[in-house]
């Protein structure tokens, strides 16, 4: 192999190496870019989820608010705050209890 051919071979090899390196770099950067995009997407999803959570927490707080609970208690249990139903002396408990069932007599 002549000197010129050797140089040419080396140049071609160097060129291929550079191309491989550049393609490798491109691929690495592209992968990093994709990963970055994925991370951003995840961040956005987290942000969306957090926003949903905040809205749900607000909804829960509204549903558990004393005014709402009182409304439900009045509507379904006939219990009013500060009413006699809320605090009873022990002696009056019996009068509030349902009447005992009559025992069936067995012959």
């Amino acid at each position: 192999m002549g000197k010129a051919q050797l140089i040419r071979a080396l140049q071609i090899a160097a060129g291929i190496l550079v191309v491989v390196l550049v393609v490798g770099l491109y691929k690495a950067k592209s992968d990093a870019s994709k990963a970055e995009a994925h991370v951003r997407q995840l961040h956005q999803e987290i942000s969306e989820t957090e926003a949903s959570n905040r809205a749900l927490n607000a909804e829960i707080a509204h549903l558990e608010s004393p005014a709402h609970v009182q409304e439900l208690a009045q509507q379904h249990l006939d219990v009013t705050p500060g009413g006699q139903s809320a605090a009873l002396p022990e002696s009056s408990m019996a009068s509030r209890l349902p009447a005992p069932r009559e025992r069936q007599s067995h012959p």
């Binding site: 040419r8 060129g15 550079v18 191309v19 550049v22 393609v23 770099l25 491109y26 950067k29 592209s30 990093a32 870019s33 994709k34 970055e36 995009a37 951003r40 997407q41 961040h43 956005q44 926003a51 905040r54 809205a55 927490n57 607000a58 909804e59 829960i60 707080a61 509204h62 558990e64 608010s65 004393p66 005014a67 009182q70 705050p81 500060g82 006699q84 605090a87 009873l88 002396p89 009056s92």
Partner: protein, 546 residues
Amino acid sequence: MKPISPSRAFAAEQSFASETIEAAPARNRVRFLAIGLLVMLLLLSARAVQLAFAGDPTAEPRHGAAIAQVERADIVDRNGVLLATTVRAFTLTATPERVWRANETAAALARIFPDMDRDATVRRLSDRSHELVFLRRGLTPNQRDAVLSLGLAGIGFAQEERRVYPQGALAGHALGFTDVDRHALAGVELGLDDQIRRAGAEGRPVRLSIDVRMQYALETELDAAAQAAHASSAAAILLDGRTGETLALASWPALDPNEFAGASEAARTDRVAGDVHELGSTLKPFTEAMALQERLTSSGELFDLSQPFVLDGTTISDDERILGPASLRDILARSSNIGAARLALRVGADRQRSYLARLGLLAPPTLELARSQAPIAPTARTRRDIAGLGFGYGLAATPASLAGAYTIFANNGARVTPSLLMRLPDAQIRRTTVFSPAVTQQVLSYMRSVVTDGTGRAADVPGLQVAGKTGTAEKLGDDTYSQDHNFSSFAGVFPADTPRYVIFLALDDTGAGAAGGAVAAPAVARTLRRIAPMLGLRVEPRLPSH
């Protein structure tokens, strides 16, 4: 003949020429290849540089147009119950170029937003000088869905954030509100604005000292009392007197911070720290304490209060004449103006003002609210002024300031400053000594008599040992005080044997005969009956009425 052989130089020249002819195509190929490689390398390098320094533009998440990005922390009560938060909202936008029929579009939108100005909307939808116009802000997801279902051309949405108050009107005045850009405008939103922003950046909530359960009980009872007494406004505050933490505070008329824009000025006004009044007889316990502290009287002294007290041409009298000798206990229990005036005159203007200053009644309240109204407290120049201050005239202060002054009864004579922030168990609490423990205890026992035997009997809650003082301050009209317009109040401390909590409730502009003992004290009793179990205090149940 042997031909003449070519010279060496000729031979070399000839050889070179033949090689050049052979190498030319190869060189051209190399050149093309090199140029091609160079172009490719340049393109790749440019892309690599772009990726390295600018990032991948295709990787950008697709957001809507950003409106405002200021983050505010959640506000929670002492138990972590959510009071204020920031949720996602939408701005209704339009691209006039793409709107087909502005009139029909505006009419369709008006069906979802009845308060929307239709003519203005048509003008904006027709304004083609703008690429994008904003029609309405703060839309909820449901409202956005409703608009989307209309399928209107040229109508779109931009994402933004919105401050909401899930408890509605509960603690509305204390929380305050923000505008659509989440700039604080009132309440703790403004009073604690920096702290809320800092906490938001750190991802933690701002914890207030109030308790929504007690807040609700206080607000509903205040509402009922104010309506029953036909008051023009009302205020109430409940403090942990040991720490100064505000457990509940209420102003009436109520305010829903979610709809503050439509609220009247009266509803927007915070009455606890933003409104001053002459406080009336609720100052009498301090007058007695001043006299006792300065040894100008004693528990054994008896006063003749049977005759009106004429002072510099002004007659001071009691609503209910006290016949026979009266003690300090009687002066408080029966709310004697004559007795309080005499004691105040013994104390004198300078000492009186000094005590009032140490009680915090000459400075604005310390609650972390947007508006803290300074008291109106002119220096007492005449004997009449000094006497008037003795029973609560000539000094206008806020309910928050008075409640702060009453913390002396929970701290053996030392005052703590009220706060709306929850304090840590090991937090240092600054106390200002005003009276000695013995004097404080003595006056507290008199205040207990007010509730057991005096003008404040309606505030009694069996089992709870409430101590307190009623107040009925006539309101100043154009020139004179009117008996038909009163500031009726009750200031209390409980439980009297181990005083810890302070409550103050006041109804403004109540009519003739609506004394503090008749309209404010019962409301306090009803409130305490509801909140005592929340504080771990036992009350005796009421017998059912038959």
